[in-house]
Amino acid sequence: MTISRDRLERFARRQRLDITPDNGNQVIRYLAVTRRWRVWGFIGGVIGSQLFAPPGTIVKVDFVTIFAGWFVGALVAEVRVSHLAYGSIRTASLQPRRAQRYVRGFAWALVPASAGVALAVAAATFVAGLAGWADPAWPWAAAWLAVALAVAGGVWTIQHAVLRRPQPLAAADVIEADDAIRSRSLHVLCGGGAALVLFLVFNQLGALHPTEPAADQIIAAVRLIGVFVVTALGWGVATSVWPASGTDLRAGAPAVGAV
């Protein structure tokens, strides 16, 4: 898959990265792998959207299903992205790799926070059902909670795998590109993962069925507006510029080598 110059420049702009002859191909490879898998995921989402359409529907565009397909492609891409090659002499920095070096604390906390929201909605559904304020569709409420927690757990696991992706010591521009790739991956996983979990939370709300018509209307409004808010949140995090201006994240660190 070819990568346009515009796309490469956009990546460099978002990560404040200087593209050099040594790191250019590294970035292009990353962009090609992620684009390929996200496109396949998107196509899978479109097909899935049709499969889950009610009988008799000719064309159905289900935004959440398509987004879920795209995001699964993004997850697969992160697993497929290759790390820097080991040299004949293996070297490594002794600086611990922390998430805060690659993504804002707010963004890093989004996925677990979204899982927390899913649990809170499940608890509210349980209480409302017991108190008679709602007539929840229990199997659906439980199923959406399980899917939301599974997605959050899966994304969290892959986020840590991206953080631990090997980074043998190399030339400064190559390491900077590797950091930029890691950072962009984490931004996409944080923004996309949180958005998907929150979309599933909206489905949980859809299974609540409050007995009061007013409450039902409020939930419908929250779900409708929420889709736009969550989409904006996910997009904003996934495409945000990093590192923030004035931040120096390239501090030198002692290194250790092994053969």
Partner: protein, 133 residues
């Protein structure tokens, strides 16, 4: 081409010294010399093993030995940090370097290596990434 990071340590590929011992010795030397000050956090075992392309057990053994010798302290949820120890005096650092240089110079003479080539070898050893890049 510049290289990231501070001082690096190179391990001889032909050395019979096992990898865990190479790691242990390098970290101990950096702590002793003050390059890694007390309280510095070391990377997790999994991170260092992944970056070096080694089994996690190898790095875990190096960390365990460093802890046994009192170079580092490992605590659950806090990771491994450099223990407070007196650093090596400047005179000792110089003496060790001088001994190593004398030993290298002797070997170079015995092998009949040209002094310029020998110096180039030292430069390459000090800056492995510049040489490979």
């Amino acid at each position: 081409m510049s290289v990231t990071g501070g001082p690096g340590i190179t391990v001889d590929p032909g050395s019979p010294t096992p990898p865990y011992e190479q790691i242990r010795a390098q970290i101990a030397t950096m702590i002793e010399a003050g390059t890694l000050p007390a309280g510095s956090q070391l990377p997790t075992i999994r991170q260092l093993a992944a970056d070096l392309g080694l089994a996690a057990n190898t790095v875990a053994r190096a960390y365990r030995e460093l802890e046994t010798e009192g170079w580092v302290v490992s605590r659950v949820r806090h990771g491994t940090t450099v223990a407070a120890r007196p650093t090596l005096p400047e005179a000792d650092v110089r003496r060790r370097l001088d001994e190593a240089a004398q030993s290298f110079a002797t070997l170079a003479r015995q092998l009949g290596v040209d002094p310029d080539d020998a110096q180039a070898q030292v430069r390459a050893a000090l800056h492995p990434d510049e040489a490979s890049g």
